[in-house]
Structures are given as structure tokens and as C-alpha cells.
């Protein structure tokens, strides 16, 4: 119990010994987040964070309340009440028409079978739709067509004025779990194990659209949990049993698939362990994100980087967290942030491995080839095999500990910081302490000069 006291020195050592999870310790030079602000307001699990503009974001969760926050100051801007049940989907709905000043709207769907449109500037409810037969589980805005879609047990298409343009027939009781926009007015919807492609066709009437089911893809063995679009040509799906399928966005064919993230064949060293602890939960693809080159998948407790060109996993962290990774995001600077049910947020950096033979293999990191103390031989062999191919690994550069419960999601605000939301009802704004300090100085001197107190002696 008093391990941290008796053990002396750096505390997480003990942790590192008993599990294979990588730890970083207390000295995190590369971790910029040295200041945090706790935003309180929610009374239940906060599940969603959505960015509104450069400095505002909305949060929503099981308490049915939507909060608007200032990402810089942490100031609570609005508290939007309207839903009676937990919120199931939220999406920003910004008008792109250059005619007026930009007005920011958000759409929220709730288990009370309503969808509400909120005005972020005034903090008021603009409109409410309550004609749904089931809970809307996902919302997507098709900016290009100026319509939005709601996905529940059926798929509805709405225009900006909240007129129902068209809807599909009843698809399934479980409902649509994910929607993604595809080129040529197509939409991919994940319904259970199936991926259904719909197409929007302009109807005869003005501004009207019809929706047409184009194709059903049943390649997944289990429920599709995540669905993201990579670029105009590709989109990716991930399922509960750990299948990752890369699809062509134009003809909806399977480009590649990876279904053995957890497959122990490539990890001979830890095979037995994996087998033992293996369960669907450990391998489900919780979240996917991508940049132009790679798809980043949160699979069970691990993070995997799949290169689209090489069509293989180039780096992985099989136990990135103590429990399921719920959300990952790629930052512009080759960094990756993941958050997990264990309440922590970790910052990773994708690094190219330097193949200097003399360099000892650092302990405590695990790449996909399973470098480790246990099998130097296999190690060497693998190295020879892969000589020409650049090798990558994910290095832990920092972790953010603040939440006492699962971190559901986070929102990266660039230099403004990082907002994380959690099941402990809190939102934490993580900030770069140096930058904040500088900003405060700036404000201070601005205030001084406003008050006429600043006299520069020349």
C-alpha cells in the first residue's frame, strides 16, 4: 500500500514492473502542458466535446446539458438546457454562406428523441425537432449540400430550416452507429455489421433531395464501431473484433484489411500472455483517425499506426493504456494523443527508428516487432529482414493525469491547449504554462497601459 513511500525515488517504477505498460515518470521535458484549468458544470458523464470556432467549444454528456466554453480562459459562456435525456450526438453546424456574418450553430441529438439547434452566439435554442421514432445516434452535416443528416433507426435528411427532405425506410432497431460523407453525394452508414452506402439525388422539386440505398457491404464479422473518411478516395472502418478495412470511397470496394492487430503470430514473445487476456474488448477498434499517410487506430488498450501506402501496421503500442483507449487524435507535429478509460491522456510521438547496431534497444517500449529483452535473437533477425524499410515506433512523451475516471474524449486546440472530458463530470483544459504566463504578462502590461500606468522611460 505504501509502495510509493517505501519504494522511494520515482514512484511509477513499481507500476512498470508489474505490467507491460510503458511509463514515463515524472520528468517530462517534452510535455508542454504545465497548467490546467478544471471546468465544472456537468453533473454527469461528459461524452462529447466539439469545437465551434477558434476559441470556443461545446461539451455535452449524460446530463443533457450543453455547455459552451471559452477555450482560452475556461470561462463558461452558456449553459444550454433543453434536452431531458442524455445527449447522444453533437455536431457543429456553421453556415458557410458568405452573405451574412458567420453564425455558429450546433446540433444536438438526445435520447429524448429530439434534435435541437442552438445558436452559439446568443446561447439560445433556435429550433427543436421532435418527430423521431428512435434516438438519433449520429448527426452529420453535409456542408456542400447545406443539409444535415440524422441517423437513428432510419436516416433522415434535413435542410437548414429543419424541413425533413427525405428519409429512408426503417433500417434496424439498433440504428445507425456512424455516418460518413463520401464523394458524389454519397453517405456511408454503419448499421450493425453492415456498411450501407446511400446516395442523395436531387429531386424534381426545388431544393429537394431523395435518398437512395446504393449498396450494402457486409465484410465485417462484428459490429462496426468506427468509420472515418481518410481522403476523397478512401475511408476506413473498424469493428468490434478488431477488423480494420480500408475502402475505396468511389466504388466502395475493399482496398485492404487488417484483422490481426492482436494476432500473436507477429508477437511471438508475448503470445501466451495475449492469448490469456484476449477478449473481444481487447481488440475492438474503438476509434480511428487518420492523416494523409496513415490511419491511427485505437484498438483495445493499444494504439496502432497503419500506413496506407505500405498497407501494413508500421508502429504500435500494444498496451498504451491500462484500459481501453477511447479516443485518439493525430497532431500536426507527428504527435498522437490518446485517452483512455483508465483516466489518463497520453502524448505519443511517432519516431523513425534509428537502426544503429550499436545502440541498445531501449527497454520498456514495444514496437510491432516486439523488441524486448526476451528475444534478442528474433530481434536481430527481424532487423535484418526489415533493413530497407524505415521503422517507426511510438514514444511516450508525456501523460496528463487529472481525471479520476474514464476520459471520454478530448479536443485539441492547437496552442490554446487541450480540452479533455471525462466520466468524472469534469472538463479539464490543459495549457502550456509558458505560453499562458507570457499571455498573462501581455495582458498585464496591456492593462497597465490602458490605465495609463505604463510609462516607458526613453
Amino acid at each position: 500500500m505504501l509502495r510509493w513511500l517505501i519504494g522511494g525515488g520515482r514512484e511509477p517504477q513499481g507500476l512498470a514492473e508489474k505490467s507491460s505498460i510503458q511509463t514515463i515518470g515524472e520528468e517530462q521535458i517534452q510535455n508542454p502542458y504545465t497548467e490546467l484549468l478544471v471546468l465544472k458544470g456537468h453533473q454527469d458523464i461528459v461524452r462529447f466535446l466539439v469545437q465551434i470556432d477558434d476559441c470556443r467549444f461545446a461539451s455535452a454528456g449524460d446530463d443533457g446539458i450543453v455547455f459552451l466554453w471559452n477555450a482560452q480562459t475556461g470561462e463558461k459562456l452558456f449553459e444550454l438546457h433543453g434536452h431531458t435525456h442524455k445527449i447522444t450526438a453533437i455536431t457543429p453546424f456553421s453556415s458557410s454562406d458568405a452573405s451574412e456574418e458567420e453564425n455558429h450553430l450546433i446540433l444536438t441529438a438526445s435520447a429524448d428523441r429530439t434534435v435541437i439547434v442552438w445558436d452559439c452566439t446568443s446561447g439560445r435554442q433556435v429550433q427543436k425537432v421532435s418527430c423521431f421514432h428512435s434516438t438519433v445516434k449520429c448527426l452529420t452535416v453535409l456542408q456542400r449540400l447545406d443539409v444535415w443528416l440524422s441517423g437513428g433507426s432510419d436516416l433522415c435528411v434535413w435542410n437548414r430550416k429543419l424541413d425533413l427532405l427525405c428519409k429512408t425506410s426503417h433500417l434496424s432497431d439498433a440504428g445507425i452507429s456512424a455516418l460518413v460523407e463520401l464523394p458524389k453525394n454519397c453517405i456511408a452508414a454503419a448499421v450493425g455489421k453492415e456498411l450501407i452506402i446511400f446516395r442523395l439525388i436531387a429531386s424534381d422539386e426545388s431544393e429537394g433531395w431523395n435518398i437512395l440505398e446504393v449498396k450494402r457491404l457486409a465484410d465485417h464479422q462484428d459490429n462496426i464501431l468506427s468509420l472515418v473518411s481518410v481522403n476523397d478516395l478512401t475511408f476506413v472502418t473498424g469493428s468490434h473484433v478488431g477488423e480494420l478495412i480500408i475502402w475505396d470511397a468511389l466504388d466502395w470496394t475493399k482496398q485492404a484489411s487488417e484483422c490481426n492487430f492482436w494476432d500473436s503470430s507477429v508477437h511471438p514473445d508475448v503470445q501466451s500472455e495475449i492469448k490469456l487476456s484476449q477478449s473481444p474488448n481487447e481488440t475492438s477498434v474503438q476509434h480511428l483517425t487518420s492523416d494523409e499517410e496513415c490511419v491511427f487506430a485505437a484498438v483495445g488498450k493499444g494504439i496502432y499506426v497503419y500506413n496506407l501506402q505500405m498497407k501494413r501496421v508500421i508502429a504500435s503500442q500494444r498496451t498504451a493504456h491500462d484500459s481501453s483507449v477511447l479516443h485518439i487524435e493525430k497532431l500536426p507535429n507527428r504527435q498522437l494523443i490518446s485517452c483512455s478509460e483508465d483516466g489518463s491522456v497520453r502524448i505519443w510521438e511517432l519516431r523513425e527508428k534509428q537502426q544503429l547496431p550499436a545502440e541498445p534497444v531501449p527497454t520498456g517500449f514495444f514496437n510491432m516487432w516486439g523488441f524486448g529483452r526476451a528475444n534478442k535473437q528474433a530481434n536481430q533477425a527481424a532487423k535484418k529482414m526489415q533493413e530497407n524499410i524505415p521503422m517507426y515506433f511510438l514514444e511516450l512523451v508525456g501523460d496528463l493525469i487529472g481525471h479520476s475516471s474514464a476520459v471520454q474524449m478530448f479536443l485539441y486546440f492547437g496552442e490554446l491547449g487541450l480540452a479533455t472530458c471525462s466520466a468524472d463530470h469534469l472538463i479539464i483544459l490543459w495549457k502550456d504554462g509558458e505560453r499562458e504566463s507570457r499571455l498573462r504578462s501581455l495582458t498585464l502590461f496591456q492593462k497597465l497601459s490602458e490605465n495609463g500606468d505604463l510609462q516607458l522611460k526613453l
Partner: protein, 933 residues
């Protein structure tokens, strides 16, 4: 009447300086050990050991027209206090030095009796035979039955310590003036009532007489008047005359508050006043007009309890009647108010003078540190004066502009305003309804007034000091007193006089000779003996009005003298004090070598812009520039020394010595304060009327902190954690032990705002990140039961945010500390023995830290680039250079100052409207280490 051979004027400022010069020149550690034969309670330093009373007290005496001077009451009302001291004799003495007494009575040649609206006179009087020294405040109260309608009274603050009387003259005078004003107000009210009754009586009498005359006229139609009838007619005539006289008196007495009302802008409670006055006026004006006709219904409605009676036209001679007591002379509400006020004066001034002085000086100085003093100054100081907190000062940064605050601080009119508010609150608030408010407000107001005042005077003093050679050394009693001081001391009730040349320069030099006579009048302040009688009677506050008229400039007027060169900067001394200097530092100091030059300026008052400490450090005044801006120690040490050198020298070479000397010093000081003064046994630390609890708390906390640093070898990293804003969790099973540790450590915790310190004494539930955001020092229960199992995991989870002090196993887990500040703050070999002393020691070092943080925060170029193109890196390196070279900080000390600077910034940029800053948690990713005993 003034028979004392040596009535001398004295000046406050010289007095103060002398005082310190005349103190034993030897440092305390070289002074002789304590007087071995000192019996219990006697003070080896006391010049007069023969005082017959045990502690200071306040005596109220009257010069009764029947029996002569007689003591009325003492405060505290305790026979033990005055002991064998002859109050009667002393009453005689103090009553005999009243200047005003000669003016009492009917002025010759006036047809009606006229009321003298006599200002109080203030006299300092010493009686070396009795071992008593007194500040004597003479005042006159109105009594219809007294000779000339006035009764001379005096209130005297009697102490065995003449230094105290002399040095606290301003404060005493200010406080007593308030008490006197309160008493007089009540008296005017009572007098007016009395007059009204008298008028009613007279009116009734007249009616009765008139009727009788009529009856006689009717009964007697012989055409001539009987002697009886003539007598009646005479009597009637004299009653008529008496009525007119009394009406005139009533008008006079009423005119007093009414005239004051006209200066409404000085009365915050003006609307109330107006209402009150108006209603009173409405009620009473008819009564005066009614007097013409006999109808008394109105009067009866107004004062239903009073039924007029027949009186004799000629009042009885004074010797065969009992004079009214003081209570009867004054409206009861005001009387209690006055007594409260006097009690408070007694509380304020009890204790040794050095303690009082230190307290006052430090308070005055603290008020100049408006930006930083929220950090470590304890809440009691800030809480005591909420009104002040609102107006200026303590909320510091949340206020709009420093300069405005400063000019507020500086400008003497503030005194007038608060005086005004005081008066008006006393006079005009409906008595019963707002009594509670009154009670709560009054001490605060008066408090603020004192220090306000003190500060103004300090400025004046500083100012005058600048012009006068500072080397002048004068004996304490043989003071050279200038008229300016006189004006000032007198004026403090009303005039924020700038030392104008005519007044200030004409010195009435007179040395006190050692006289046979045991009574020495050390100073007298006849406030307006030069004012013509008539003028006074009709416009008693005319004198006051003069300064009021230009009070707006009052504060600014002496600024030019303070700083003749930069006329534009005078209004905000503190601001430029900080900013100008800071800027000068910044602008010059692009490179670090340049930085070194301007630093001594920082400690200086703005007038020495050229930056060298010209005036050699003086015991008293040196403190001020030091505390105002920066480093007290540097001022003393370094002429041309670089601050960090000085610092390091201090730290390495002379560290032990200076520390021990400091300790000794403070120890002996506290000893003196406890043993020296006349009031010693009962009230060791006189302190602050409003916060005896906090005083005790300080002592206790200091004592526990001392014990902590002696007991725990790892006290330094623990204190470093607190100072750098890393939450320290004190973990233990026993609540008492943990709480004690928390209390001890709480003196090191910087506050995040003006509110209470972020200290939580006892928590039993697991901690969350929110707690670290809110609290910087937490006492946590280590659960013995299985229910508490999750307390520790939570702690280890958040271990990066906290340092953990385990009170049970005596271990500490926290980051390494290699700096030097904390070792000065908490040396386990310290010689300090008393808790309060240690508390002060801590406070002084923390203040030093604060001033460093202040400098660091407000140096523009340390945080922002000098020009657009300058890269951020060079700013960073400049910043680090400043911290290391200029502020002489090493290693982890940097983080302390940086943290304090962040707090300052947060506090400053906080909008006044906002309740509290969104508390944020700053942390570092640094490894922790485990310390064991």
C-alpha cells in the same frame, strides 16, 4: 493659567527622528544582559521606574465650577490600573494646562450669551515626579446650568512612557479628536434638547405670568399699578428676555450640525443626514415659531413625556445645585459611542511603544505594497478594514489603476473624508435602527483613519526630512519644535496642511531646561487661539472649511516637494516607484551588465532618479524605501555593491552572524515588548484591537513552524513546495497532529487572492485534481479502516501535483530543493525562540521575496520583446538573467519567484467585477524524492 515654565512647541517629524537617534547606538546583541535585580514586571529600560500605575489608562477629568478639577472616570475602569496614582492631583495638573479655559464664558460686550464653538486643545504633559506622562485633550461641553454654558473637560491618555506619548502624539490626537467629536456631538444634541425644554418652561411661565397680569389688570381698575403688578410685569419682561436668549442659543447650537451639512460632499451618509436633519428641522422649526403663541399641542406631540413647569426667571446660583454628570450632558447613544471609542484607544495604544511604532510603520508600508501584500499578509490585516479594502489597497490588482490608488493613498483629503464619514455616521444615523451597523463600522473607520493619517504624515515627514539635515540629533525631551509641526499636529483633525514655507520654516526653538517643577508641558496645541472670537462663534468650522476648499490638491500639493523634477509623476508615487524604476531597469538593461547599474534605484524613492543611495541608511527611514520597492537588505549593505553580491555575501559569509543578530534582536524586542511597558503583565502583546485572535494564531503558528523546522530535517523542501505552489499534503492518522502541522506550515503558503489562504486543515475523502487547484496545503486523514483504502491510490495517482508529508512515518516525498531562500527562512539552528518573533522573521523574508516577484512581474522587457523582431528566446534569456543576476536567485528559488509572479499577474489582471480568479493549477514535471528522518 499656564504656569508651567516650559510650554514648548514640538515637531513631530524631528521628534521621531531624534527618537531613533537617541536609542542606544549599540546593536542589541552587544548590549548588557538584562537587569538582574529586576523584580517582576519592572522594566530595566524604563526611565521612570517609579510610576504608580501598572499600565496605561485614559482619564477623564472635569474642571468643576463647584469643586475644581476632579477625575470622573478611567478607562479601563479598574482600580488596579491606576493603583496608588493620585488621580485628583493629576486631574488638577491636566486641567490646569488648558489653553481654552481663558476664553470660556461670556465674551465681554456681547448682548446675548454666545456659545463658543471652541476647538479642542491638545497638550502633552509630563510629570516626572509621578512618573506619568500624558496626552491631554481638552474639550468643552455645553451645559445650560453652567457658568457661560460651558463645562471644561479633558481626556488624558496617561502612560509611564513619555516616548510613547510623544511618538504617538499624532495618532493619539487623531483618535481622541474623534472621541471628543463624538462626545461633543452628543452633547450638542443633549444641549439642544435641554434648551427646548427650557424654552417650553419659559413659555409656559410666560403664559402663566401673562394670565396673572391680565387678571390683576382686570381686578384692579384703579388706573395705577400696584407694586405687585409691577413686579409681575418685570418678571414677565425678564422671562421674555430669557426666551429670546434661549431661542438664540438654540439657533446657535442648531447651526452647528447644519453648517456641517453644507459640506455634504465629504459626508458619505449625506442623504441620511439630510433626511434626518430635515425631519428634525420640520419637527423643530415649528416649535420655534410656535413659541410666539402659547399653543403647545405640537410640542407635546413631539416630546410627549415632557410637561412644562413653572420656573423662576432668575435661575438659582450655581453653588446650591448639583451639576449634571457627564452622562447627563451627553446623549446616551453618543456617550456609549465615545466610551467605546476610548476603550478602543486604550486597546490600540497599550503595550510598548516600539511595538506600536513597528506595527504602525509596517502597516503604513504594507499599504504601499498594494500589489503584493495579498500574498503573505495575513487576512486579519486585510479583513480589518473592509472599507479600505474596497477603496484601495488590499484588493490591489483588482482595482483599476495603481496610480489612482496611490494618489488616494497619498492625498491627505482622504483623512478628511473618513473623518467626515465618521462624524456623519455618528451624528446622522438614526440611533436605534442602525446601532449595530454603527458598532461594526466605527472601529474600522477609525482604524483606517489612523493609519491613513499616519501615512500622510509619513510623507510629510519624509518630505521635511529631505530639507532638513538628517544628522541633527536632539534629545528626546529637549526638542526643537517648529511651528509647522504644531500646525500639523493640530491640524490632523481637520487640516491636511502641506508644509507651506511660512509656517514650516518659522521655528520656535526652545529647549527644555531641567526644571524644578515636576510638571513639564511638552507641547501644546491651542488650535485656534488666534481666531477671532466672533468668527469662531458663528463659523466654528471656518477653519476647517479652508482646507476643505482645496482639499483636492491637498495630497498633491506636497508632491512637488517630494519630487521636484518630475512634476508629472507625483501623483502616483508608488506606481512610478515601481514602474519607472522597473522601466529604467528594463530599458537600460538589455544586456545583463547594464542591468546591474539601475538596481539600487529600485529601492529608492523616486526623487533619487540618478540611482545611488545618497543618504546613508538611517534606522527609521531606511526601512521605507526598502519595503516600498525592493530589498531592505540591499539598501543597507550596498552602496555600489551589486545586489546579488550583497546577497551572496550575506548568505555565505555573514549569514550566521547576521541571522543570529537578527534573531537576538527580534527576541529582545519581543522581550521588551512583553516586559518593558507598564502594561506588560496583562497584555504582553498589545496589538490590534480587532484581531487578538489572529495575534494568538500568529504566535501559535510561528511556534509550531519553529518546532517543525527544528524537528524535521527536510523542512526546506517542504517549505519550498509550498512557496512554489506545489500542494503539500500532510498525511496522518491523528487529526490533532496533522492540523498542528498544517497550521505551522500555513504561514508559508502564499494566498491566491484576497480571500482566505488556500489551506485545508483536515480532509478525510480522497483528493481530486480540483482540490489541488483549490488548496495548496491539505491535511489528509490516513484511513485505518479499509474504507479509506482509496485515499492513498488517489494520492499516488496525483503524485506529480503534490508533495506528501507523512506525519506518522516522518517522511516527505517532494522535489529536490537546492536554493538558498528557504534556508534563510527556516534555519533549524535559528536562535529565535518565540513564535511571534519567528512569524515576523518569516514575514520579513517573504516580503523580500514578494518584492522580488513584484519587480520581476512588472518589468516590461522581461516578458515582452523590446521590438517586434526580437525572438522569444532572447526575452527568455533576459528573463533568466534578471532572475539569476539581478535578483540573485539560484536553482529552485527561481521557481518560487516565478510562481509568486504568476499569482501577482493573475491578481492584477483579474477584473474587479469577477468574483474570483478561475483557479488554475500550475505544475512542473519534476521528479520527487523521498526524504526520511
Amino acid at each position: 493659567m499656564i504656569s508651567a515654565p516650559d510650554v514648548v512647541a514640538f515637531t513631530r517629524e524631528e521628534e521621531l527622528e531624534d527618537e531613533l537617534c537617541s536609542e542606544p547606538p549599540l546593536p542589541e546583541e552587544y548590549s548588557v544582559p538584562l537587569f538582574p535585580f529586576a523584580s517582576h514586571g519592572t522594566n530595566p529600560w524604563a526611565k521612570v521606574a517609579s510610576s504608580k500605575f501598572t499600565r496605561d489608562f485614559i482619564l477623564i477629568s472635569e474642571f468643576s465650577e463647584q469643586v475644581g478639577p476632579q477625575p470622573l472616570l478611567t478607562i479601563p475602569d479598574d482600580a488596579k490600573v491606576s493603583g496608588t496614582f493620585d488621580l485628583n492631583y493629576f486631574s488638577l495638573r491636566i486641567m490646569s494646562v488648558d489653553y481654552q479655559a481663558s476664553f470660556v464664558g461670556h465674551p465681554p460686550g456681547s448682548a446675548y450669551p454666545k456659545l463658543n464653538f471652541v476647538e479642542d486643545s491638545k497638550v502633552v504633559l509630563g510629570d516626572s515626579k509621578e512618573g506619568a506622562f500624558a496626552y491631554v485633550h481638552h474639550l468643552t461641553l455645553y451645559d445650560l446650568e453652567a457658568r457661560g454654558f460651558v463645562r471644561p473637560f479633558c481626556m488624558a491618555y496617561i502612560s509611564a512612557d513619555e516616548h510613547k506619548i510623544m511618538q504617538q502624539f499624532q495618532e493619539l490626537s487623531a483618535e481622541f479628536s474623534k472621541a471628543s467629536e463624538c462626545l461633543k456631538t452628543g452633547n450638542r444634541k443633549a444641549f439642544a434638547n435641554e434648551l427646548e425644554k427650557k424654552l417650553k418652561d419659559l413659555d409656559y411661565t410666560r403664559t402663566v405670568l401673562h394670565n396673572e397680569t391680565e387678571i390683576q389688570k382686570k381686578a384692579n381698575d384703579k388706573g395705577y399699578y400696584t407694586t405687585q403688578a409691577i413686579e409681575k410685569a418685570n418678571e414677565l419682561a425678564s422671562v421674555e428676555k430669557s426666551i429670546i436668549e434661549h431661542q438664540d442659543l438654540l439657533k446657535q447650537i442648531r447651526s452647528y450640525p447644519y453648517r456641517k451639512l453644507k459640506e455634504s460632499e465629504f459626508h458619505p451618509y449625506e442623504p441620511d443626514c439630510a433626511l434626518d436633519q430635515a425631519s428634525v428641522g420640520c419637527d423643530q422649526d415649528p416649535t420655534t415659531s410656535d413659541l410666539a403663541e402659547p399653543g403647545e399641542a405640537h410640542l407635546c406631540a413631539h416630546v410627549p413625556s415632557y410637561t412644562p413647569k413653572l420656573i423662576k426667571a432668575k435661575s438659582a446660583k450655581c453653588f446650591d445645585k448639583k451639576l449634571k454628570t457627564l452622562e447627563e450632558l451627553c446623549d446616551i447613544y453618543f456617550f456609549t459611542q465615545t466610551l467605546d471609542q476610548l476603550h478602543q484607544i486604550e486597546r490600540t495604544f497599550r503595550g510598548d511603544v516600539c511595538y506600536l511604532l513597528t506595527e504602525q510603520i509596517s502597516r503604513a508600508l504594507l499599504k504601499q505594497q498594494i500589489v503584493t501584500n495579498f500574498l503573505f499578509e495575513d487576512g486579519s490585516f486585510l479583513d480589518e478594514k473592509p472599507p479600505e479594502k474596497q477603496h484601495r489597497g488590499c484588493q490591489g490588482p483588482s482595482q483599476d489603476a495603481i496610480d489612482r490608488k496611490c494618489s488616494e493613498e497619498l492625498s491627505a483629503p482622504k483623512v478628511v473624508i473618513s473623518m467626515g464619514s465618521y462624524k456623519s455616521s455618528v451624528e446622522c444615523v438614526p440611533i436605534k435602527m442602525e446601532q449595530e451597523i454603527e458598532d461594526s463600522q466605527e472601529p474600522k473607520l477609525s482604524e483606517s483613519v489612523t493609519f491613513e493619517h499616519q501615512e500622510n504624515l509619513d510623507y510629510l515627514d519624509a518630505d521635511i526630512k529631505g530639507s532638513i539635515s538628517s544628522g541633527e540629533s536632539i534629545e528626546v525631551l529637549g526638542t526643537e519644535k517648529s511651528a509647522s509641526g504644531l500646525t500639523k499636529s493640530e491640524s490632523q483633525a481637520s487640516l491636511p496642511v502641506s508644509p507651506s514655507p511660512q509656517v514650516g520654516r518659522s521655528k520656535v526653538g526652545s529647549r527644555r531646561t531641567v526644571s524644578e517643577d515636576s510638571i513639564e508641558v511638552l507641547s501644546t496645541c491651542p488650535s485656534e487661539s488666534l481666531i477671532p472670537e466672533d468668527f469662531k462663534a458663528s463659523y466654528p468650522s471656518a477653519i476647517n472649511e479652508e482646507p476643505y476648499a482645496d482639499e483636492e490638491e491637498g495630497g498633491l500639493r506636497f508632491a512637488p516637494q517630494l519630487n521636484p523634477d518630475n512634476t508629472d509623476e507625483q501623483e502616483d508615487v508608488l506606481k512610478q516607484d515601481s514602474l519607472v524604476q522597473v522601466d529604467s531597469a528594463c530599458c537600460i538593461g538589455k544586456e545583463s551588465p547594464n542591468f546591474l547599474e539601475p538596481l539600487p534605484v529600485l529601492g529608492q524613492k523616486p526623487c533619487d532618479e540618478d540611482g545611488v543611495v545618497r543618504i546613508p541608511p538611517q534606522p527609521y527611514w531606511q526601512a521605507e524605501p526598502g519595503l516600498r520597492g525592493t530589498f531592505p537588505s540591499h539598501d543597507g549593505i550596498s552602496g555600489g555593491l551589486l545586489p546579488y553580491e550583497a546577497d551572496s555575501r550575506y548568505l555565505t559569509g555573514s549569514r550566521e552572524v547576521s541571522k543570529s543578530s537578527l534573531d537576538e534582536c527580534s527576541d529582545s524586542t519581543s522581550y521588551i515588548s512583553s516586559a518593558a511597558s507598564t502594561c506588560s503583565e496583562r497584555t504582553p502583546s498589545p496589538a490590534h484591537p480587532a484581531c487578538p485572535a489572529s495575534e494568538r494564531h500568529k504566535r501559535k503558528a510561528g511556534q509550531s513552524a519553529l518546532r517543525f523546522i527544528r524537528q524535521y530535517p527536510f523542512a526546506h523542501p517542504a517549505i519550498y513546495s509550498l512557496l512554489s505552489g506545489r500542494t503539500l499534503v500532510v498525511l496522518g492518522e491523528e487529526e490533532a497532529i496533522v492540523k498542528k502541522l498544517v497550521t505551522a506550515l500555513s504561514i508559508f503558503v502564499p494566498s491566491c487572492g484576497v480571500y482566505a489562504k488556500p489551506v485545508k486543515h483536515w480532509v478525510t475523502s480522497p483528493l481530486h485534481v480540483v482540490d489541488f487547484q483549490k488548496w495548496k496545503l491539505i491535511g489528509l486523514q490516513r484511513m485505518v479502516s479499509p474504507a479509506g483504502v482509496n485515499v492513498l491510490p488517489a494520492l499516488s495517482r496525483y503524485s506529480r501535483y503534490v508533495s506528501i508529508l507523512d506525519a506518522d512515518s516522518k517522511t516527505l516525498r517532494c522535489p529536490l530543493y537546492r536554493g538558498t531562500v528557504v534556508s534563510r527562512l527556516a534555519d533549524h539552528r535559528t536562535q529565535i525562540k518565540r513564535g511571534s518573533t519567528y512569524y515576523m522573521h518569516v514575514q520579513s523574508i517573504l516580503t523580500q521575496l514578494c518584492s522580488k516577484a513584484f519587480l520581476f512581474t512588472f518589468c516590461h522587457h522581461l516578458h515582452l520583446p523590446i521590438n517586434e523582431r526580437e525572438p522569444e528566446e532572447s526575452v527568455v534569456s533576459r528573463r533568466m538573467n534578471f532572475l539569476k543576476l539581478q535578483l540573485g536567485l539560484a536553482n529552485e528559488d527561481l521557481k518560487i519567484v516565478q510562481y509568486l509572479a504568476e499569482l501577482l499577474k493573475l491578481q492584477y489582471i483579474q477584473e474587479p467585477g469577477q468574483g474570483g480568479v478561475n483557479p488554475l493549477l500550475r505544475f512542473d514535471y519534476v521528479p520527487s524524492f523521498l526524504y526520511k528522518i
